[in-house]
Amino acid sequence: MTLQTDYIGKPTSRIDGPAKVLGTAKYAAEFNVPNLLYGHVVSSPIAKGKITKINADPVLALPGVHQVFSHENVPSLAWLDRSYKDDVAPGGSPFRPLHKPEIRFSQQPVALVVADTFELARYAASILEIEYEEEAHETELTQHIDEAFEPGRGKTGYQPPKSRGNFGRGWEQGVAHVEANYSHHAQHHNPMEMFATTVEWLGDKKLNVYDKTQGAFNSQQYIMKIFGLSKDEARVISKYTGGGFGSGLRPQHQLFLAVLASLELQRSVRVSLTRQQMFSFGHRPETLQHVALATAEDGSLTGINHFAVAETSQFEDFTENVVGWSGTLYDCKNVKLGYRLSKLDVYTPLDMRAPGAASGSIALEIAMDEMAYAAGLDPLEFRIRNYSDFDQAQNLPYSSKNLRACYREGAAKFGWDQRTPEPGSMRDGNLLVGWGMGGGIWDAQKQPALAKVSLDADGHLTVSSGSNDIGTGTYTIMTQIAAESMGLPIEAVTFVLGDTELPEAPVQGGSWTAASVGTAVQEACAKLGEQLLKQAQKMDHPAFKDAKIDDVQFANGQMRLRSDLTQAVVLRDLVQASGEPKIEAQNSKLPGMVDMIKPPKYSMHAHNAVFVEVKVDPDLMTVHVTRVVNAVAAGRIINPKTARSQVLGSVVWGISSALMEESVMDHRFGRFMNHNYAEYHIPVNADIHNIDVIFVHEEDAEVNPLGIKGLGEVGLLGVAAAVANAIYHATGKRVRDLPVTIDKLL
């Protein structure tokens, strides 16, 4: 069935726009329920050791302080590790807040002070006296490379990278070679909204939990298991999320603490983290990489070797696919890949926008630029010569791959053919001009998801799925998909999300929401269509008497016969005639599950190509990214307006990663020392200049019926490398340790 293109593919303003610009959209810390208590978290000043004493009495004596929670007085909770594992937990033994006196990472939450007001809780937390015995900690990855080990398949979806061919032979066959080390430091997601949970105590253990999360169901499962709550008692609500970027994939400790306090005190409680405490949990892990490439006379790659070592915590093995992409993106017979972890006294890293791929593409795409120079080829021409039309890593054909169009259209828009290859050869007055490029690849994934549609007697369609919108445009695109599927005007459709009372949806991550929830909405609409047809037949509507579902279409608020469009019935009338207040339908979860166990027939991926211009002051070595063209092949784009914004944001992230972002660890204290927004640098408006986004045409009937590949991650890939490559082109300086700060160029 081909869709009517009434709404899908049309630039559509955000449905949630008015709420956001008016300030009426409520985020987790903004539910001012009556009789609310405030919890403030006390964080450990040491990275490793043990609490020996907590002197809570003077704090408890303050009028208005209700309780100080710590390992000393937490009631007995779920015992097994399993109960603390959330849906996206990596292998290992998850951290349990306030469980034991042991300190395992700096800023570990060690106590929660609960008081009548925020001001009092904050003050009381600041004077809570705690004594520690400190032990020596290890936080320096470069000192622990030798102990690195190969992780197993701890986490859902993680596949150890597979080598193929014989890299040693490929290396020898090559006539040109490059080999180098690449690195970047820890990065923190730092969404604008700080993590917070407001727990509304409804009496008798029944809670409404307003949580900052990327997955209401994940938060719900977590607190149900730990606190022994039923689904009904633990309702989690998350209608608006002030940015996630992966940080909200796992429940964070403020959720545990707020629920604990609420259950113990039988009161409503809010716990908000401070910006400093936003550095107390997951981050993109510091990763050290090694890439070696060899090419034959004609510029074809004869060998690729990509090896990475990343940090993880002492208690969980966080894994991500850093090097695997290097076995897929380019055509090469001999590929050697390796990935290891080293355990440090830090909190477990956490998926952060394009996890693994963003890191891997830094090394691979800078190395590709170096290889192009070594082989005497233009970096774009070099990539085209090594274009992969078949996924050699999975040994599968691509369901679709229009990276060629990204190269072509991106280069044309940018004016790449004007580039002179010699570093330092392009100028704008006094300024050095550099042009660099890069690109990447990301999985087109789909998860099982449920959606419900409900058509009422006024002809209004309510669509619901317990998914999330972290700024990705979910509200809007689901409304578009439902409106188009049912042939209703967009104003007649309301999409609701972010509530565990709604049909279950997966966490919002991996760029899979549009494909997963979109498909669920489409399926639910198809079921509703069948019911509406049955209703018409019940009413003895002559035109539809023998009609099958494929014989009808939905448009203009009507169901019509395809063979004779004048034969139509208004949807609203069908509901009214049914005698019911509404007609409802829900998709079944099964198709997704079946899909998942079937062996795949195709390799399904989104791709991009990025072209970057930098201008560098030759005296001060300040770098400005003046132009970026990002061409993306990601299947069907449901809403070009919100999609463009997602890619714009990705480019800003890439520039940030290339030039600014870095959580700086002071190894003497085992603590990130720039743990605030002033010293953790991200771009401001004045840092961002011209950005062009191109979506190349790509049809894909295999990924899902809507042809969606997902956009949350792919736009970020290769941006940081392209900036670094442009800096090389401008200055002749090859910096392989990101971010490229001025000191590395002087």
Partner: protein
């Protein structure tokens, strides 16, 4: 092994100073609160008045999410105590427009998709109103620079710029019949502009 004491209590903690009555004039209305003297204007709005449109992104004057207008000037409300603002005209996002009658900046932000998660948005819009009140910014480069106190982690900057430029241009052409000056700075390639010509290679 070494011994460390966090927050050593050398004397018994003092109870908080008594709350006091503060009257704030917000969006044309008087509100009287009984609050601790060190309550910030931001917390007074969010925690005591349920005016949660004003956001907290850092509590340290580093992000601009808490921007409000005080006597028409933009300030970081996390850096001001509520008691300091008695007698001032405070305007928050809630006082800027309504669902039926959006403020031109609010409309422009929707039209230009100048946000994603929306958490920095009220601060951006109040800041943009402050910028318009100041009347200093004309060019894209100036707007970028003078909107740089408001972080957007979603990276909506190019769209924020084009939204603000649209309102600025309309205001100027409407009231003073002025066209915005063309950018002359060297970082002038802007999101609202057509493509910039490629740089010529040095000969």
């Amino acid at each position: 092994m070494s011994h460390i004491t966090q927050a050593p209590l050398d004397r018994l903690p003092v109870a908080l100073a008594p709350t006091q009555s503060v009257t704030l004039h917000i969006n044309g209305q008087d509100h009287t609160l009984q609050i601790a003297p060190w309550t910030t204007l931001l917390d007074a709005l969010r925690e005591y008045l349920d005016l949660t449109g004003t956001k907290k992104g850092c509590d340290h004057g580093q992000c601009g999410a808490c921007t409000v207008l005080v006597d028409g000037k933009r300030i970081n409300s996390c850096l001001s105590l509520a008691v300091m603002q008695e007698g001032s005209e405070i305007q928050t996002i809630e006082g800027l427009g309504t669902e039926e009658n959006l403020h031109p900046l609010q409309q422009a932000f929707i039209d230009h998709d100048a946000f994603q998660c929306g958490y920095c948005t009220p601060g951006q819009i109040c800041s943009a109103q402050g910028l318009l009140n100041e009347g200093k910014a004309r060019t894209e480069a100036e707007v970028r620079e003078l909107m740089s106190g408001n972080l957007c982690r979603c990276g909506a900057y190019p769209n924020i710029l084009s939204a603000v430029m649209e309102v600025l241009t309309n205001e100027e052409s409407g009231t003073k019949n002025l066209k915005p000056k063309e950018d002359v700075g060297q970082w002038a390639a802007g999101a609202t502009k057509p493509d910039m010509a490629p740089v010529e290679p040095a000969k």
